[in-house]
Symmetry: C2
Subunit: 143 residues, 2 copies
DNA sequence: CATAAAAAGGATAAAAATATCTTTTAATCT
DNA sequence: AGATTAAAAGATATTTTTATCCTTTTTATG
């Protein structure tokens, strides 16, 4: 429903949201220990997000990853979509054939409603919401 | 959150609930095609459930798997617990350290509520509920 | 222009999940 | 008892996910 990779990616982006901006970019080297994700693996994930325009990056000295103002308007689902793919997220809880949102099976009715809510949260929560929101920033840690 | 193996197991048990009883046992051979799970794999899963007393089975001729009356009172969570383990189900959505139901992180607050509901459904829905309930039996298919 | 910094990319490795095959054990029926 | 049937158990194979390593490309700066 939500892969480790996606969780890692969200953690990384969260860190960027809290610590980076256009004039202060951050290297993977400075993130991976804080969010407890292997350096090379996190790099891969962030590169993937950058390639899909979900986050920003520049190469070379003084380079690194960061979130632009627009990037911050991205939703959690944007991240998950890139890392896990649309398919995984929307696949039927029961893996039933001929069963999806529109034509749900019984288990869909039982658990699907909650899954849908889960998806709604992912779709409606932006990075900005998380960071600027009413949330106590301290609660994010430890990532 | 819910492995394929668990889904397979639930499907298998559902089939047993609909088609078996103490005096009419069913062989894996007769289930696997209907529920679209590889024969040997489904066998493993059902054996595991049987070993943990979630479903019933007898060996030899006229043998097979079946659900006793008591078996039918088992919840979906009983199945998931055996196949996926307690840990997987209750693990933090974000994989945060120091984060669980009692001491939730921010993402917990966002998506955790729905996850908890999801878990509640699994914990409060018995096989019997699914089969005898108000549900139209046809809706289960195709498994 | 040279150099160093940093992401990007490709190839590989390790671990976990999924799946299959083979042998053993138990029950039933001649 | 012996043959047969079916689950149980054990060993092995495949695939997917997760993770690492190493090289290449880009870019800023002295």
């Amino acid at each position: 429903m939500l892969s480790n990779s996606s969780k890692y990616a969200i953690k990384g982006v969260l860190y960027l949201a809290l610590n980076s901006n256009e004039s202060h970019k951050i290297m993977v080297r400075d993130i991976f220990e804080v969010v407890h994700v292997p350096e090379a693996y996190l790099a891969k994930l962030l590169q993937e997000l950058s390639r899909h325009g979900i986050i920003s990056s520049v190469r070379g000295p003084k380079g690194g990853f960061y979130l632009s103002e627009d990037d911050r308007k991205r939703t959690l689902m944007d991240i998950v979509r890139v890392i896990d793919g649309e398919k995984r997220v929307h696949s039927c809880v029961m893996g039933m054939r001929n069963c999806d949102m529109d034509n749900p099976c019984v288990l869909h009715k039982l658990v699907g409603a909650n899954k849908s809510k889960f998806i709604n949260v992912l779709e409606n929560t932006t990075i900005l919401d998380l960071v600027e929101g009413k949330q106590n920033i301290e609660e994010f840690f430890p990532l």
